[in-house]
Structure formats: C-alpha cells, structure tokens
C-alpha cells in the first residue's frame, strides 16, 4: 500500500510541472508586451518608450524565456508569486491568502448544503421511485441544472432580499450574507448528487445481495440504509473529491454577483484588469488543487474499498 501511495505521489510531479509550464506559456503567449500592459493597468496616462524600457528591466522581462520560467517556478516554490499589476503594492501571494478564507467558507458552506440536502432527497427519490415526490424532484433537477448560476443568484437576491426583505443582497460579514451565495453555488451540485445517489441506489437495488438480504428477512430499513445506500456512496466519494476543487473554482461567477470578496472575485477582477500575474497564479493554484484532490481521493477510495485494496496489494 505504501509503495502504491509513493508511486501515485511521484506520478503527480510531472503533471504539476506540465501545469506550471502551461500556465506560464499561455500567459506569455499573449502578444502584448507585459511591461506595457502593467503600465496601462496601473493607469499611467501616457506610456513612453523610456518608461516601458524601465519597467521591462524592473520586471526581468529582458531575460531569456526559459530563464524566466525557471525563475518563476523557483519563486513559486518559495511562495513568491510576484506583484499585482493593478495594485503594485500588493503581492500576488498576499492577495490569494487574503481571498482564500472567504472562498473556503463559501465552498465549505455549499458542500455542507450539498451533502445535507442531496443525500436525503436522493435517498427518498430512489425509495419512492416514480412517486409524485420523485417526479417533482426530477423536474426541479431538470430545471436547476439548466439555470446559469448568475441568473439564479440575481433571482434569489430579488426574491429573498428585495421582495421578502429577509437577507442582505450582497457583501460579506455575517452568516446572513453567506446563505444566498452558498445556496446558489450548491444548487447545481445538489441536482447532480440527487441524480447520482438515486441512480446508484436503483442500480444497487437490482443486485443479488439485496435479494438475499430480503430472503434472509432483514428489515427493509436496514437493507436500504446499511447495504444499498452504503454501497451507492462509493462513487459519490470520488465525485465529492473532485467537487471540492470544482466548488473552489466554480464560485467565480457567484462571488462576483454577491460581491463576496473571495478568489472568484479576485480572478474576475484580474481578468478584467489584465492583471496577468494574479491570473497565472490563480490558474496554477486551481490546477494544483485538482491534482491534489484527485490523488487524495483515489488513495482514500483504495483504502476504503477492500476490493481495490487487494488489487493494489
């Protein structure tokens, strides 16, 4: 087992190098001169050739391409991700650290909502297959998966905050501010997980072990919860593993709509301001998160599932 883990971890390293290289290359493929862009976004009114030359030297852009990449990777390993173009007195690392907690709170709250809402609803949809409850839920799922998050966000804001005057429209500061954005983010995931749990349970219900359990006269509740639900959750664990980085990355639009000062707002602002160092580091961070969570949940699943564990051994 230990060898398997070491092998998987070592296997992830080339992938991380590829991600870092792609992040660097894509940002540097942009035809504009980064020095000039940096000056434009810091709103210098007239940009002369002299200021451009001065800025190029200050940013180290006069060095060869590969040297710049290596410098950047080494700096990243030292957690030095450079300076923001728009706010030259702020470091990119500092910006990410500042915004990360807000995004983690939002993603965490959304994950809790996803788990606590999709699990019982998915379960009852499978148990009462084709009942009115199942039909209504499926219709609801069909609708919410098709609705873009920013639109749902604005509709909820209008309905809950303006019409019913129940919650603040936007911002952050108290738990009240968290409810609408968290619900908006989780809505798509709730739909996905309800469907996943329902379908997995229905598949499992056809398995032989359920028939034997019934023949043995086990109580229905026990068969449904201890056997069918438990077996149906394996795929969900992997899906949750991938959903965590997705939730962190997927809050972009919702954060912007609800003025939630997290990574998503930072990313959108940076895209609009062409703050390349921030965009580059954000993409790198999300890439790394996907690799790490994929690895982590693969290992967890291997440990949790005796069949996979035996295969590895």
């Amino acid at each position: 087992m230990r060898n398997y883990i070491i092998k998987r971890v070592l296997g992830a390293i080339p992938l991380l190098i590829c991600i870092s290289f792609l992040c660097f290359v894509f940002i540097n493929l942009i035809p504009s001169d980064p020095a000039e862009v940096a000056l434009r976004v810091s709103q210098v009114p007239v940009i002369t050739e002299e200021i451009i030359a001065e800025t190029r030297a200050a940013m180290g852009l006069d060095k060869p391409y590969l040297v710049r990449y290596l410098d950047w990777v080494i700096n990243c390993l030292h957690l030095d991700f450079g300076i923001s173009y728009t706010n030259p007195d702020r470091t990119v690392g500092g910006e990410l650290l500042r915004c990360l907690p807000a995004t983690l709170v939002l993603a965490g709250a959304s994950l809790v909502l996803v788990i606590f809402l999709s699990l019982p609803i998915g379960f009852f949809c499978a148990v009462y297959k084709d009942s009115w409850f199942d039909r209504i839920t499926r219709g609801f799922i069909f609708m919410t998966t098709a609705m873009p998050a920013y639109w749902v966000g604005l509709l909820l804001m209008w309905l809950v905050s303006i019409k019913f005057d129940l919650l603040p429209t936007s911002g952050n500061g108290s738990w009240k501010h968290l409810i609408l954005p968290a619900f908006t983010v989780s809505l798509t995931y709730i739909s996905t997980y309800i469907r996943l749990i329902r379908n997995n349970m229905l598949e499992n219900m056809k398995e032989d072990y359920v028939l034997y359990a019934n023949v043995r006269g086990l109580p229905q509740k026990s068969i449904l919860v201890k056997h069918i639900l438990k077996n149906s959750l394996h795929t969900c664990i992997v899906a949750v593993g991938m959903s965590i980085p997705q939730l962190i990355a997927g809050t972009i639009v919702v954060e912007n709509v609800f003025a939630w000062p997290g990574l998503g707002t930072l990313c959108i602002t940076s895209i609009f301001n062409r703050d390349y160092p921030v965009i580059q580091t954000y993409v790198l961070l999300i890439g790394v998160l996907f690799v790490v969570f994929n690895l982590l949940f693969d290992i967890i699943q291997t440990i949790a599932d005796p069949r996979l564990k035996n295969e590895v051994s």
């Binding site: 007195d89 809950v160 000062p261």
Partner: protein, 529 residues
C-alpha cells in the same frame, strides 16, 4: 420506508427552507445606519486601492476626498485651494502662489509652502511617470522663498499650467511625515491630506469608511461619514440600492442606459445626468489605401446615423455628437458644419471618389472592393452593438464593413501601431479636453497619431497644437484652437458618435448631487439629506 420517514423528510425540507429564509425577523443593519442623516453609503465596482496621491493606481474620487491641490478647476474658471491667490509673470513663465494660512493636514501637521515644496520634490523625483503633463517637461525650478510663498518657474509659457495643477493627480499634497524619506514613488506611510475627509477604516475588496476631517480648511461637509462598499456587478448594485443598502451610485460606467431609463420617473430614486464629459468616436485611419481619400471619409460621416445610435442604444441619454469636442468644452464653441445623416450625399461622394456599385451591392474601384475593418474592444457591449448597427447601415451605401472585437490589450496595441481602418475611441474628457487630447495627437501613444499620418496638413496641425500650448494671448489661443479643430473636422478623421455623460442614481431624499469639472470627482461635500 414508512410514513414516519416521509414526514421526517418533509421536516428536513422545511428546516432547510427555514435556514434559507428564517432570518427575516431582524431587519438589515445597513438600513438602520443609512437612516442617520449624516451618513452616506456609496458604492464602487472595486476598492479604493493605493491612494498615494502622486501615483496613478488609486481611485480618483477617493484621492479627491483626501487631498487638495494648489488650485481647483470650476465651471467659472480656477479657484484657489491650498493657494489663496497667485500671480503669473508677464512672460508667462513664473507662477507665484500665495499659500493659504492656517491649513493643517488631518494629522495636525502644518501645510505651508515648505510642505508643498516637499510634495513637488517627491513628484519631480519620479518625473518620467508624469511627463504626460507638458508642464513637467517645461519645469525649470520650484521654490519656497518663505512659508507663505511657493514659486514655479517654467522654461516656456504654458497656458494649461493651472489645469494640470488642478487635476486630481499627481499635484495633490500629502503630509511630508507620510512620505518615505521625502519620497513617494515607492509608497507612502499613510494617506494624510488636507481634504474634506480622512480615511478611517479600509478592508480590501469589502469597504472603506471616510470620516469628515476635523482640520478641514474649507466649508465643513454635512455628510460626516461616507462608507464606500465594493459591489462589482451592475445588477447587484441596483438591487442593493433598491434594498436601501446603498444611497448613491455615481459614475460613467456604473449604471447602464436601461437602469437610467427605468428609474427616470421613480418616486423613491432620482437620476442625474451631467453635461457631456467626453466624446465617443470612431477614428478613421487616413494612412489606409481606401481612407486616404477624404471623399470616402466624408461619405462615412454622412452615412452614420448618430441620432438612431443615441436613441436606439443609449435611450437618448448620450446625445448625438456633431463635433470631436462638445461645445461646452473650453475653446470648442466654434462654428463647424456638422456632417448630416444623408445616405444620398454619402453615395454621391463615393461615386465622385470612383467607387461604383457591383452586382453584389458592394462598391468597387479598379477591381478592389470597398471593404473596411472596424476594430472594437470586445469587453464593450456598447461598441459591439454600434459596430453591428453600422455594419448594416454602411452596407446600404455599398461599404463592406468587417467588424472585429479584440481583447483590450491587443485592441490597444493595434490602435497604437495604426493597425486598423476604423477604430473606436473615447477622448480624454473633462478637464483634460481639449488640451491633453490634442497634445497626445502629436506622439505615437494612442491611435490618433497613426490615424492622422495620411493627412496632407498633419505637420501644420501638430505645429498649431504646439503653439496653442505655449501661447500667452487668449485671443490667439482661441484662433489656433479654431484652426486645429476646423482642420480635423474638415479632414473628417473622426466620426463623432455620442457625447458620454456622468450618471448618478440615488435615493430621493439625498440632496446636492451634482457634477464638477472633473468627471472622476464625486462632490460629496455638496451633498446632504
């Protein structure tokens, strides 16, 4: 599964709904706070950022709140700020300012001529950043012969000198103790100014709170506390205003035409629109093989229905523009004959230029199709809509217009290098117009220089612009402006589309919402409930 479980599910769903909606009993806090008559909640799409008054990376409205310059630009001309009065030598080269007595920075430090000299020295240390202001290139010396007198000497007379001193930055004064060893180019230790407000609290990307400056030398503002919230999304800002979480939305791009239209006759909210601040225009590249012919350029002018654009895209909020600068801009109230919308005249002009209609409806000359590309910033929905409209309109006179949206940086690169036939542009706006816009036409910084290269009188125009800036005689200056503006108008280099204006949307009980000569300033000191 039994009935009990199903009831449990129902309860769970009800609980979830309660979590989502059950906190309505307590009304929102911000509503209570904004009810106080001396508090105002303002909104911006991003935070105040770096408010170093000598650099360009901060929000200008916030810099205006914290700092003062030597003079202010008003609708009636210049008004003393930190300088009580001033004299200009007969040769127009020496400006002597009498500094207002008893002015203190918000930390209690005295703001005299020595403090102003320290500020000028810090600005001059970073001169390369400020050469867009011509006065920096003409500056010979600055001195403070005594605590009440400050002197600026230039190598040549320069008429926009007071305007350049009056714009938000970089000539705004910060307390010398907030500088880092007398320098500001690498940052400051605090945002200490002499302005009407002080920054009391700031949370990045969330909000900033400004309190009235107890040491302020001018008329004390009635609004004592201003909270600036950060809300990036246009729709959310409006919903927050409806909810009462904010009191005022202000700015050129903070409210779209739909919203202005929606709230125009509303009882709870008011809308205010300023005089034109800048001109939305299309620059024609005279260095291009087709557009080198002024008949083609004039045909495009006549084929552009600005009234339809103004009504159809801006609901009439942005008025149609007839000239490069509005008549309200200084020196621009001259008699220029607008290019009226007339498709027949446009067609005749193209006929005269030798472009005849082929079977497919597009005009041709010597086997070449009359095809032009129009470049726009893909971030701008407005420019895209105007482009699409023009594409269909120009097709009627046989011009094949290809529209191309580009990412902002490559759009600006192409503009600078002249890699376009037609391109969208917005002039600098008040108070930089017309002097800074015209001055920048002489160097390859924006698209204007490249676009004008095909003009036979480009050299003459550039020389006249230089003469304007150094002229000491008002009458002569007006004459030179008239010459330059007439030439550019007759050469048909710019298709003026509409005049942009500043917009404000605010709760109806807020009084004194207006606009100043600077499009970036929010006049909080005039506001009250």
């Amino acid at each position: 599964m039994n009935k009990k479980s199903f009831i449990a599910l129902g309860l769970m769903a009800a609980m979830s709904l309660t979590i989502l909606t059950g906190c309505g009993g307590s009304s929102n806090d911000s509503k209570a706070s904004t009810a106080k008559k001396e508090d105002l909640v303002f909104v911006n799409y991003r935070d105040i950022r770096n408010l170093n008054p000598h650099l360009y990376a901060g929000e200008m409205y916030a810099q205006e709140m914290l700092y003062d310059g030597l003079v202010n630009i008003t609708a009636d001309g210049y008004e003393g700020a930190l300088a009580e009065s001033w004299t200009i030598s007969d040769d127009g080269k020496v400006y002597t300012f009498k500094i207002r007595k008893g002015v203190k920075f918000s930390n209690g430090e005295i703001c005299d001529a020595n403090a102003i000299l320290a500020n000028f020295n810090a600005i001059i240390e970073n001169k390369a950043r400020h050469t867009w202001l011509e006065m920096m290139n003409l500056l010979v010396s600055v001195s403070a012969p005594d605590a009440d007198t400050f002197v600026i000497e230039l190598s040549k007379p320069y008429y926009p000198m007071l305007t350049e001193l009056g714009v938000t930055r970089p000539f705004a004064m910060i307390a010398p103790s907030a500088m880092k060893n007398g320098s500001t180019k690498d940052g400051v230790n605090g945002y200490i100014g002499t302005g009407a407000y002080v920054l009391s609290k700031f949370e990045t990307d969330k909000y900033a709170i400004f309190e009235a400056n107890p040491n302020y030398w001018g008329k004390k503002p009635e609004i004592k506390t201003i909270t600036v919230k950060v809300i990036p999304d246009n729709q959310t800002r409006i919903l927050a205003l409806e909810k009462g979480e904010i009191d005022l939305i202000f700015g050129k791009n903070m409210i779209d035409a739909d919203a202005v239209n929606k709230y125009a006759d509303n009882k709870k909210f008011k809308v205010a629109l300023s005089e034109p601040t800048s001109t939305r225009q299309i620059v024609l590249n005279t260095n291009n093989g087709i557009l080198v012919d002024d008949n083609v350029r004039k045909a495009l002018q006549h084929a552009t229905n600005k009234e339809a654009i103004s009504q159809g895209i801006f609901y009439g909020i942005e008025k149609p523009a007839d000239t490069l600068f509005a008549k309200t801009v200084p020196y621009c109230n001259i008699d220029l004959k607008p290019y009226n919308f007339d498709v027949a005249v446009a067609g005749n002009l193209l006929d005269t230029a030798g472009w005849t209609k082929a079977a497919d409806g597009t005009r041709e000359k010597n086997g070449q199709k009359l095809a032009l590309n129009l470049l726009y910033n893909s971030d701008s929905v407005t420019e895209k809509s105007i482009s699409e409209y023009l594409q269909s309109e120009y097709a009627k006179i046989g011009v094949n217009l290809k529209i191309e949206g580009q990412e902002e940086q490559s759009y600006r690169d192409n503009m600078k290098t002249g890699n376009f036939d037609m391109v969208f542009n917005i002039c600098w706006g008040m108070p930089y117009d017309p002097q800074s816009s015209l001055s920048a036409m002489r160097a390859p910084v924006y698209g204007d220089y490249a676009a004008q290269l095909g003009l036979h009188d480009k050299k003459e125009i550039d020389e006249a612009i230089t003469s304007i800036l150094t002229s000491t005689n008002e009458e002569e200056r007006q004459k030179l402006y008239a010459f330059v503006l007439t030439r550019l108008h007759d050469d048909a280099v710019y298709i003026p589309i509409t005049y942009e204006c500043n917009k404000a949307l605010y709760r109806a009980d807020l009084q004194g919402v207006g606009f100043t000569q600077s499009q970036y300033e929010v006049p909080f000191t005039d506001m009250h409930f």
